[in-house]
Structure formats: C-alpha cells, structure tokens
C-alpha cells in the first residue's frame, strides 16, 4: 500500500474517522496499532511475525533491564544460582522461562523437523543469553541481546546472501571444496527468503529505544501497545523517518490536540510529497533507467545527465515519501521529525549530511560515531570514526560493493571538506554558490555507485564520463525545466526572496500548479527507492 495509491486513500478514509471517533476512549491507541499492522501486513502478512517478534522482544528486554541493578552493583551469579535466591522475582521467572526455552529450542534444533532446526538453534542461543542476563542481573547483557537480535535479523535478511555469495566465490577462486548453502535454506516452514520491507527502519527504531533506555535517555515504556505503535506507526514504518523514543513515544501517551492546523499542515506536506514522487521522481526515473540500465549504449553527456537526474530522483523519491509520511502523521496530530532540509543547497558535506536523511545521520551519529569516541580524541581518531560511521552507513543501504564504495566516498569527502573548512580562504573567500555546486557535484559523483547495478557498471560509467566524446544526452527539456524550477524555489527559500514565497497568492498558486500538474501529467506508480533498504 503505497501512499500515492488509491488503496492507501481508502485505508486512510477508514483509519482517520475511526481514530478521531475514538478520541474520548482508550481505544484510539489499539486502533492505531491495528491499523499499522494491517498496513504492514498488506505487503506480506508473514512480515508481521518479524515486526511483532522484534517489538515484543525489545519490550521485554527493556523490562528485564529495568529490573536489573544500575551499573556498578555487582551480582554473584553462582551464589544466586546455588541458593536459588533472586533479588527480583521477575528476573527469577525470566531465568526459569529462558532456561526452559533454551532446553526446548535446543532439543528441537537437534531432533525437530529439518526446516525448523536452524531457527530453533538461533532461538536457543538467544534464550541462553537471556537466562544468563537474568542470572547475572546485568543490564549490559540485555542490551547485548537486543543488539544481537536486531542486528542478526537485519544481517540475515539483508546481507546473508551477499556474504554467502562472496564467500563461495572466494572458496571457488582458492579451489576450496567448501560451499555455503543459500540463506533461503535456513528459512523455517519453507517460507520464502525475501527482504522484509522497511526492516532497516523498524529495527533501528526499536534498537534506539533499548539503547536510549540503557543510557538513561528515556524512561521504560510500560504499555506494550504504545511501544508497538511506536515501532510500527504506519506513516513512517516503511522508510522512516527513523524516530526516537524520546520524540515519538510521549506523543502516544494522550490523544493529540484536535486542531484545524493539523489538517492543513498535514495536507500541505502530503501534497508536496505527492508532487515530488509522482510528478518528479517517477518522471526522472524513466530517463535514469533508460541510461543506467544500458550504460554501454550511452556516452558521457547522457551518463552525466542521468547521474544528475538520479541525484534529483532519489531526493524527490525519498523526501517525497517522508513528506507524505509526516503529512499523514500530522493529519492525526502527530509530529515526525524533519528528514530532509534542501540538501542540495549544502555548502559542505557535513552540512549535506545534516540536511539529507537527517534521522539516519543523527542515528549513526548518536549510536555509532559518538560511542566510537566522536571527535574527542584527536584528528586521526575523529577521521577513523567518521570513516567507520560512513562505512557502516554504506552497508546499511544495501548488500553490494557499490554501496560500500558510496559510503567510503562520502567518508573521504567529509574528511576533505572538514580540512578545507579549516582554511580561512575557503570559509571566507570561496563564494557560497561555488561551495554548493562543489558539494552537489561530489554527491552526484557518489550517486553513480549508489545507482549502478554493479561495480562493473559503476566503473564503466566513471570511465565513460571522463573519456567519451560529446553527443546529445536527449534529456527531455520538460524534465530539466521541472528540476530547474524546484532548485530555484529551494534557493529562494533560503534567500531574502523567501518573503515572496510566503504570500498567500504564491502559496495558493504553487499548490494549484502542483495539483494541476499531478492531474494532467502524473507519471504513474512505482514503489519508493528506499523501500528496498
């Protein structure tokens, strides 16, 4: 169910009135949970198992963490076990249940049906860790379980095939007889091995809650429905923004204020998102696909223009999705964080990452870069941390070498711009427009690796761009004009001309133009690019 399709409109026409009708009861939250699960199950009902599993487990893990003594209090596990005296009754029950689950799962892993054995083994190990966590009354172990569980899910569904294929090709090149089985062989009950939509988003969101609780940034959520709604809140479930418990969970504590402004703002955000997706992203996609699907058939100008087009396509596609997500949430009175802030107006790569996919950048900043040490331990370690953060960010985007290179390119770029920004000349003399163009050119170059179907294609495109002769790129003038108009609008938004854009006539004019364009020229459906992540 994509935001820009009729089924979603029907879904919303049911969900919204019921949601508002229930505002004076306690049922509005369960309704939101049910609606979110329905929304997610629409893609594939089996995916629901994953999201429910992830939710319940993280909810329980935080509850266990809450029952453990704070850091610094030592627990003698052996004495505890020997005397069968747990300080906390909940932990005692958790230990019994986990120990039983460990035995049961391992027994199934040894003697159960063949298709269930791998899954049972993993569950057994997880239960064993939980028993250990209960026994040791150690918050870190519970956090570790949450990290392992979420990351294993992510790694298995997203990267297992990539890893297996690469290892098998290494074994083959070394003439080793080993061959790892395809990950689909590990699926229980013969389920199809598919990447569950939005898994990178909801696992990160759920994970952020457990880490934030561990760090003492958020209180424990005692209502599982509220937590489930936080994890699977339908507007942002598929492709973010990746919300933080601190921001979104409190909003589910009481029915949001019923204001007309919510509707007008929500509709405004949705319209802009719809326009970005249907009128711009989908249109640009036609040209990008034409060139990138057959890069050998095109010369430098077409490849350059297609790369330029892709830069805008992915921006319109992803920011269009988040605009619509924020708009839908706003219609209900909820606020989702800003995810894009005119990134192609950035004057440095650091600035770019504070404007592009903000929820992911801040996630990596808070949970990877800062825990690694951030910029507190000198230049070398700062750059090492930056490199690692962007390396992981590259991997997060997908299981392919091209994404890795994309991450490394950004890491390198950010180091270079940091160094450049140290010089007074660059800071004060280089015109803002030149910096903006430089950032845009670099980001566009990096997009080649993001978009290319393979590493071979990416290198071919880079080679061709730098060598082939001139020819007509055949990029439609209408397409170019649309991008130019949007870019100009963004420039105006960050200039003294913003006042003109704020006048009612211009606002209405822009909105009418967008609606008219959508009615007359919309380029049809197509899923969002970031759903694959």
């Amino acid at each position: 169910m994509l935001f820009h399709t009729w089924p979603f409109l029907m879904f919303l026409l049911v969900v919204l009135p019921v949601f508002f009708a229930l505002r004076k009861t306690r049922l509005w939250l369960p309704w939101l949970t049910v609606a979110s699960y329905f929304f997610y199950g629409w893609w594939n009902p089996y995916y629901l198992f994953l999201v429910v599993y992830s939710t319940v487990l993280d909810f329980c893990l935080v509850a266990m963490m809450d029952h453990c003594p704070r850091t610094g209090e030592k627990v003698d596990a052996l004495a505890l076990l020997g005397g069968w005296r747990f300080a906390d009754r909940v932990l005692k029950i958790a230990f019994i249940v986990s120990a039983a689950a460990t035995l049961g799962s391992l027994a199934m892993a040894l003697a159960g049906p063949q298709t269930l054995r791998p899954a049972m083994f993993v569950l057994g190990m997880l239960a064993l860790l939980m028993a250990l966590g209960a026994l040791r009354s150690n918050r870190r172990i519970w956090l570790f379980i949450s990290l392992v569980n979420n990351l294993v899910l992510l790694l298995f569904f997203k990267y297992a095939r990539f890893v297996v294929e690469n290892l098998n090709s290494v074994f083959a090149s070394l003439h080793l007889p080993a061959k790892l089985p395809d990950p689909s062989a590990l699926m229980p009950f013969g389920f199809e091995y598919l990447l569950p939509v939005g898994i990178s988003f909801f696992t990160f969101q759920s994970l952020s809650y457990t880490i934030d609780f561990y760090l003492g940034n958020v209180p424990r959520e005692r209502n599982i429905l509220r937590f489930a709604t936080f994890v699977c809140f339908f507007p942002q479930l598929m492709a973010g923004p990746i919300e933080r418990a601190k921001h979104l969970l409190p909003q589910f504590r009481q029915f949001p204020p019923f204001r007309l402004r919510n509707f007008t703002d929500g509709a405004s955000l949705f319209l802009v998102g719809l326009f970005k997706k249907l009128a711009l992203a989908n249109y640009l996609a036609f040209y990008v696909e034409r060139v990138y699907d057959h890069p050998r058939a095109f010369g430098a100008p077409a490849l350059m223009m297609a790369t330029f087009a892709f830069g805008w396509q992915i921006f319109f596609d992803f920011s269009g999705y988040t605009d619509m997500a924020r708009g839908v949430a706003r219609l209900m009175g909820f606020d989702l964080i800003l995810n894009f802030n005119n990134p192609y107006l950035a004057t440095g790569l650091g600035d770019f990452w504070s404007r592009w996919h903000i929820s992911l950048s801040t996630w990596f900043r808070d949970y990877v870069y800062i825990p690694l040490g951030g910029n507190k331990h000198g230049t070398f370690k700062t750059y090492r941390n930056l490199f690692l953060t962007f390396f992981i960010s590259g991997i997060w985007h997908g299981a392919a070498w091209t994404f890795l290179i994309w991450g490394i390119l950004h890491a390198t770029g950010i180091m270079i711009t940091r160094e450049l920004e140290r010089s007074a000349f660059y800071r004060e003399r280089v015109p803002r427009l030149v910096k903006q163009f430089g950032v845009f050119a670099f980001v566009s170059f990096a997009w080649i690796f993001f978009r290319a179907s393979s590493l071979d294609d990416a290198t071919l495109i880079v080679n061709r761009i730098s060598s082939a002769a001139w020819h007509d790129p055949q990029m439609p003038a209408l397409m170019l004009a649309l991008v130019a108009v949007v870019w100009l609008y963004q420039f105006c938004c960050e200039s003294r001309f913003r006042e003109i854009l704020q006048t009612g006539v211009v606002r209405v004019g822009v909105a009418v133009s967008m609606v008219l364009y959508l009615c007359l020229c919309a380029s049809g459906g197509g899923a969002f690019i970031y759903f694959q992540f």
């Binding site: 003492g216 958020v218 055949q474 209408l478 209405v508 008219l516």
Partner: protein, 385 residues
C-alpha cells in the same frame, strides 16, 4: 534518572513555503473545482471534432472513452446506433466498407445508421462502456450486435483462473462480478473506477489519447523511435504545441484495412482448417451474462433495442463442434424471444466473405446489410414507431 516526559508535540517544521492554512486550501479547492467542472464542457466547444458520414472512432483512439461519449452525444435522436465490438467497427475494412455504411446504402438513408462500435470491445467491456459513457443513449433505436466469438473458449469468455491481459480492462467490472482472469492490483482497479466517474479525469485521458499517443505527457517526452542509436523525437518538443484542438481523424488510407490491405482476405486463404472451439455454456458464460445486462440497461433507459446475432463463421467449425455451437446459438435466440427482445439471427455468409471467425470482409458486410434489410423482423423493427 530518566528525563521528563515531553507531552506537547512540537510544531512540524517546514523547509518550503507550501504551508497552506484553511483559507488557502479553500482557495485551492475552489479553483480546482472550477477548473475541473468547466474544462471538459469548454473543451467540447473549443476542440474540433468532425464526424461526417461513416465516421467511426479511430483505431488509435479506441480507448478514448470521453471522445466516445462525446460522439454518442452528437448522434441525432432519429439515428440508429449500431453498437458492438470490432465486427460493428469493421476490423478489416475501411469506413466505407462497414456494416453501418452498407445499411445506410441499403435503406437509402443518409447517415441514419451510426457506427458506434469500438475496436477490441467485448460484452464485459461493453457493459462498462454503456453504463459509464453511454448515458446519452436514451430513448434511441439501438442495433446491438451479439458476437458469439466471446463464448468460443473459457479464455475468450475471461472465465479462466489463469491471468490474462486484455483490451479495455478499464471498462470491465473491477470488483463485482468477479472476472477470474483479471488480476489487476487494487490500485489499478480503483484508478479505473475513479477515471470512469470523474469527467475531468476522462478528459485528461482524452488529451493523452488524442495528442500524446495514448501516454502521459512525461512519457511522451521520452518516446523512443527505434534506430541505432535510437532517436527520441520529442525530447525538445513543446508538449503544448501537440494540442492542436482538432480530434485526429482516421487515416483514409489505412494500410491495415480495406480491400487493398494484405489482411483483407478470406480466412481460408491462410490454409487454416476447421477449428474445434471449447464453447462455454450460456449459463456459465460471463460474457453472455454481461451481454444480458447491457440489453437490460439499454432497455431501462427507454431504448428500442434490436439484437443481431452473428453471423458467426460456421464454416470454421469442426463437425463435432457444431452441436455445442447450435445449442448456444439457439439458447440466445430463445432467451431473446422469451424476453420479447426484437432480434435477427441472419444465416451465415459464404465462407469466402469472412476474414476470420466473426469478421466479414467488405462484400460480407454488404451482403449482410442486404440480407438484414430483407429480414421481416428487421423491417418490423425499422417500421415500428
């Protein structure tokens, strides 16, 4: 200690100025309402749509239902509307070789019989066409063609479970009654329903059909014209210049149609032998039920309906296949008689006058019109009122 709970949601930040308040939205709705309401009728006044004798909706505009509706609205009350699929439209013939042309010729009338056939149509789509775009067919005389071709197999009847792609999918019932082989996604089905019921969207579809080669404007700008390297003729063209405000007419020298066309030849010249059809019984046929509903709708609207059954190319039938065909043929005739619906079931034409199982060639239409005009039931129907 955990931080204090934040209860009031912060205000959504906007990075652009498209943040409309209630008054702005009211203005947008008002403007769009005016545009959407006035554009289609105004367009009808602005756009030249020349129909003239023997006019039929051009093949390229077969899916321009807004134009079809407009065509029906132009028909005078004294005209007889010949309604049906490509047999009525004239798949292998030029406009002056169609059934309606020869009916006019035989009856000596000038443009009395109007070709309202649509290429690629079938009863399930005809139902949608009549229901949504044929509202102007009220208190008229309608000659409705019944083509048994659509019951020759479960596939033709659209009653197989295996997914099938077919023409005019936007016209068939999208949800009820269920068409087993129609597996379009919910969005496509809802889109078809919205387009059918909102004149503004029908008009947009007309624009795309008439001026942009049945595609959206963005897709039109990306059109590819073969060759190595391929050519993209519309890359730098101004889309507005395409809108000539004249409905494109049918090409007078269509190489695919007419006596000079290589397709215009008897079916038997391809050395195709008789065929054994897997006929679908009337009580199980989706197409037949749809056809019955079409008749009911037309009659409920006060139309005087005459059904012409076939003539199917019986020469094509394998011997053992004939009883099944006759059962269906007779079943249709019986039902029409029971419901007191005027009908004619002409004898089959000579084999050499068929291009395939159901489409006559130019002389075939001529003979059919001639036979029809001498048929007592037809004459009675013509002379009524």
């Amino acid at each position: 200690m955990a931080p204090a709970i934040q209860t009031k949601p912060p205000d959504s930040p906007f990075v652009n100025e498209v943040r409309l308040n209630a008054w702005h939205w009211a203005a947008v709705f008002g403007i769009m309402l005016v545009v959407a309401t006035l554009t289609p009728p105004l367009w009808k006044k602005l756009e030249r749509f020349e129909t003239g004798p023997d006019y039929r909706i051009p093949y390229a505009l077969s899916k321009d239902y807004w134009l079809y509706e407009r065509r029906l609205q132009q028909i005078r009350p004294t005209n007889i509307v010949v309604l049906g699929d490509s047999v009525v439209w004239g798949e292998y013939v030029l406009p002056d070789g169609t059934w309606s042309h020869f009916l006019n010729q035989e009856t000596g009338a000038t443009n009395q019989f109007v070709n309202a056939g649509v290429n690629g149509l079938f009863p399930l789509a005809l139902e949608g066409l009549v229901h949504c775009y044929g509202q102007s067919l009220r208190h008229r005389r309608v000659m409705l063609h019944c083509n048994l071709l659509w019951m020759t197999s479960p596939k033709a009847d659209l009653s197989t479970e295996k997914e099938e792609r077919f023409n005019h999918a936007a016209l068939v019932p999208q949800f009820f009654p269920r068409i087993p082989c129609y597996r379009a996604e919910a969005n496509e089905r809802l889109n078809a329903m919205v387009e059918r019921n909102v004149p503004f969207f029908e008009w947009v579809s007309h624009l795309q059909n008439a001026y942009f080669g049945q595609q959206s404007i963005p897709k039109w700008t990306l059109n590819e014209e073969g060759g190595d390297p391929p050519r993209y003729p519309n890359t730098y063209r101004n889309p507005f210049s395409q809108i000539t405000l004249t409905v494109p007419p049918e090409s007078p020298n269509d190489p695919e149609r007419g006596p000079q066309s290589p397709r215009h030849k008897p079916w038997s010249t391809d050395a195709a032998g008789t065929t054994r059809f897997d006929w679908v019984a009337l009580d199980k046929s989706l197409q037949w039920r749809a056809f019955q509903r079409v008749i009911e709708t037309l009659r409920e609207r006060g139309n005087d309906v005459l059904v012409v059954l076939g003539p199917f190319n019986e020469h094509m039938l394998a011997g053992e296949n004939r009883p099944a065909y006759m059962e269906i043929h007779d079943g249709v005739v019986t039902w029409l008689a029971t419901k007191q619906i005027p009908h004619v079931a002409p004898d089959p034409l000579p084999s050499a006058l068929y291009a395939d199982a159901s489409h006559p060639l130019t002389p075939g239409y001529q003979l059919l019109a001639n036979r029809l005009c001498h048929d007592a039931a037809f004459q009675k129907w013509m002379n009524a009122k």
